[in-house]
């Protein structure tokens, strides 16, 4: 058994692919998103930026889908050598693997920071992180299909709890916090796009996921569903957080989304406070982003060396842990997050288009139509 090729059994349906994409996109970024966008734009118009970012992501995702559909049943680690030749492909693949490792590590670290501060003060970081990673390993050892099924379970729970708890903040929502619309013109809106793009990039997972799909023709459907759902979630978050805290309040809060939930108490429901609930539920989303990134990075190694993926799944764990522990403080974590985000913009925004054009020019792959 090589494990390098996607075996016939390890396949996912179209809806599973969409769920995979949603779960990978939604991660720790949502906790800081309102602040990063408001910091960049300095106006409450960032909700417009969010919508524009959603459109940009859809276009970038479509390019990836078009590229992947020329190479059915192959992941990017397998088809890139056909387009660019071996050496360039290796460099590219290694960069992609490094990116996924960093993504995975960042999720772990932000998770550790937030739970360490709000939930489990006093519990050592390694205890939080290691249990998280081992359970992740248990999941990833099951393969893509196993993961996809798990995410199908997670997604509805997290979305429902998230929406309910964030919509409860309508108690402190004030529409005045959005006025004046476009008061400083369109420029701040454009400045606000980039910070939204960072937590929004998730379509890169399609470079791998399409190879697992039973019907790759429907990849576009999965992509659209996979961008619309995060768009709705991000838009709701930004609207509710700014509506609740105003841009002045958002700017000074490290985790504005959690602070929104800390800013009100509901009397009469079973729970009065929702921040712990949201955090606990949202841990599942962070978990899924972490596991997917972990799996894809290991898959990359296994397909490069044509070895069984299990070795790499184990081998990547300590590496992810070490990367996660690298930043010395919160500022460094966010800096690393920015770097990873910037890299992904170039890596998955520009290169797939180049690869697509190159593959058409060199007549590699099959035209899906």
């Amino acid at each position: 058994m090589s494990g390098a090729n996607t075996s016939a059994k390890d396949q996912i349906t179209t809806s599973q692919a969409a769920v995979l994409l949603i779960n990978y996109t939604l991660g720790a970024g949502i906790l800081t998103l309102p602040r990063t966008t408001v910091e960049a734009a300095q106006t409450p118009d960032v909700w417009i930026s969010t919508i524009i970012a959603g459109m940009i992501i859809t276009v970038a995702g479509l390019i990836v889908v078009l590229l992947c559909r020329r190479f059915q049943g192959k992941t990017m680690f397998q088809f890139v050598p056909d387009i660019t030749g071996k050496w360039l492909a290796w460099i590219l693949s290694l960069t992609v693997i490094a990116f996924f490792l960093f993504t995975s590590a960042l999720q772990i670290r932000i998770m550790a920071e937030v739970t360490g501060f709000y939930l489990l003060e006093g519990t050592p970081v390694w205890a939080i992180v290691m249990s998280f990673m081992w359970i992740g390993l248990y999941l990833t050892l099951g393969g893509m299909n196993c993961m996809a099924r798990m995410y199908e379970l997670i997604l509805p729970i997290t979305l429902v709890f998230f929406l309910v708890s964030i919509l409860l903040s309508s108690k402190i929502f004030d529409i005045d916090h959005f006025k004046p619309v476009l008061g400083s013109g369109i420029l701040p809106v454009i400045k606000g796009i980039k910070p939204v793009l960072l937590p929004f990039t998730g379509y890169e997972i399609m470079l791998v996921a399409i190879a697992y799909m039973k019907t790759p023709k429907k990849a576009v459907k999965a992509l659209l569903a996979g961008t619309i759902v995060p768009l709705i979630i991000y838009l709701t978050t930004i609207l509710m957080v700014i509506g609740g805290l105003s841009i002045y309040g958002v700017r000074t809060r490290i985790w504005p989304t959690l602070d929104l939930l800390r800013s009100f108490e509901i009397q009469g429901l079973i729970f009065e406070r929702f921040e712990s609930l949201l955090l606990v539920i949202w841990l599942m989303q962070i978990f899924s982003t972490f596991t997917i990134a972990h799996y894809v990075a290991s898959l990359g190694w296994s397909q490069l060396f044509k070895k069984n993926i299990k070795i790499f799944l184990f081998a990547m764990l300590p590496i992810i842990y070490l990367i996660a522990m690298l930043p010395k403080n919160v500022t460094e974590i966010f800096k690393l997050g920015d770097i990873a985000g910037n890299v992904s913009l170039y890596l998955f925004g520009g290169i797939p288009l180049l690869l697509l054009l190159l593959s058409i020019a060199r007549k590699k792959g099959v035209n899906p139509n």
């Binding site: 501060f117 709000y118 489990l120 003060e121 006093g122 519990t123 205890a127 402190i172 005045d176 006025k179 004046p180 008061g183 400083s184 609740g244 805290l245 105003s246 002045y248 309040g249 958002v250 700017r251 000074t252 602070d259 800390r262 800013s263 009100f264 108490e265 406070r273």
Partner: protein, 403 residues
């Protein structure tokens, strides 16, 4: 071999289950002290502190502020104990304890309580923070609240009020069984009965108001003989975040008319003929501040509309509620509201030079470009801005009496 490994793993797993029951760093509720209120006063060492300082229990600090922590003792069933209790601030009926310490760092003061109480103080359930006017006059609120806004225990939903006298007094009560922190919190909910209460200022709102740079109001608490009352509001200047003055109850009514958030309360005036008491109960109110800009000249017009009920009429003999009579009364009520507004506007523009009515905000909404020009010294400009207003009060019914 494989069997052996399996057994080992199974044993390890079950061992893990036994070891990981419960929380790693959990604190049992019986082992912590819940603080429900916090008061910040100018430094005034208590008798206790003076005595322990004589014994050398001093650490390097300056006496900047005295923090009061209101705690609810976990043991409430210890009524009529052995009587020898030396703690002077607890009587058997009291359900709370006020503890005071002095220092120059809010966090250090709070942690200093660890030297005094066996059960550590936990801030998760802090409901009210009272700042003494005198302290807010000396120090910017941004400094006083820095720790509180950073802390992971204190929730941003905590209520903030200013006390006219000391915060300790505002957090004390003689009434048996009453917890002053909860009492203050409960008063805010009475907004539907009185338009003299400001919308609750939570920590997060305080933070965003401070960050926005505009001046704002904080609910004021006055105390006498260990009883308190919400009365008026403290004005916090936007650029210094310091206390600069007070608005009276009557002014607050004016502010709530301007802001259009009257959801209850009373409006009393005297009838045009006979000069007897008549009272109106507002049911709803709407207000819009309309900024007007022509060239560099800024002016505002306030439109206020309210519907309500004639709830008290001291006419004797009773005057029947004819349309004419009601019209007369409506006019009189309108005059009263105008009076309230003109008084509070005078205080804002001429006395304190602050804009706490949301005028700058409306200008920013409608004329963002103009706003950017005047933003820097808005409050200076605001003092000369002409403001006009028209008020329309409509009496919809007269309660259950016909006349």
């Amino acid at each position: 071999m494989i069997k052996y490994v399996r057994r080992f793993l199974l044993a390890a797993a079950s061992l893990l289950l036994v070891m990981t029951t419960g929380c790693w760093s959990g604190n049992e509720i019986e082992d912590v002290t819940v603080s429900v209120g916090m008061g910040l006063d100018v430094a005034k060492e208590s008798q206790f502190e003076k005595e322990i300082n004589e014994q050398g229990a001093h650490y390097p600090k300056e006496n900047v502020l005295t923090a009061t922590i209101q705690i609810v003792p976990p043991m409430s069933g210890k009524k009529g104990g052995k009587g020898g209790g030396s703690n002077s601030s607890t009587s058997p009926e009291k359900k709370y304890l006020n503890e005071q310490l002095t220092g120059d760092s809010v966090f250090q003061i709070i942690r200093q309580f660890a030297l005094r109480r066996d059960r550590p103080i936990m801030g998760h359930h802090l409901k009210v923070i009272v700042v003494a006017k005198e302290l807010a006059q000396k120090y910017s609120l941004e400094l006083l609240f820095d720790f509180i806004l950073r802390d992971n225990e204190i929730r941003p939903s905590c209520l903030v009020v200013i006390s006219h006298r000391s915060a300790l007094e505002a957090l004390s009560s003689e009434e048996p069984g009453e917890i002053p922190a909860f009492y203050l919190l409960g008063l805010v909910d009475n907004r539907y009965r009185s338009n003299k209460i400001l919308p609750p200022m939570t920590l997060i709102k305080l933070d965003s108001d401070m960050q926005s740079g505009a001046s704002f109001l904080l609910q004021n608490v006055v105390t006498a003989k260990n009883e308190h009352k919400f009365s008026g509001a403290a004005i916090i200047k936007g650029d210094t975040k310091k206390w600069i003055g007070e608005l009276s109850q009557y002014d607050i009514e004016g502010v709530s008319w301007i802001k259009g958030d009257v959801v209850g309360g009373t409006l009393k005036t005297y009838a045009p003929r006979g000069n007897y008491t008549v009272t109106y109960e507002p049911i709803s109110s709407k207000a819009s501040i309309i900024p007007k800009v022509s060239g560099d000249d800024i002016s505002f017009h306030i439109k206020i509309k309210s519907e309500g009920r004639l709830i008290e009429d001291w006419s004797f003999p009773e005057v029947p509620s004819s349309t004419h009579y009601i019209d007369e009364l409506e006019e009189k009520f309108e005059k009263e509201v105008k009076e309230q507004i003109s008084q509070v506007l005078h205080k804002m523009q001429k006395v304190y030079h602050v804009d706490v009515g949301g005028f700058g905000e409306q200008l920013r909404f409608k004329y963002p470009k103009q706003w950017r020009k005047v933003q820097e010294n808005w409050e200076d400009i605001f003092t000369h801005v002409p403001i006009t207003y028209d008020v329309s009060m409509r009496i919809k019914d007269y309660g259950s009496s016909t006349d």
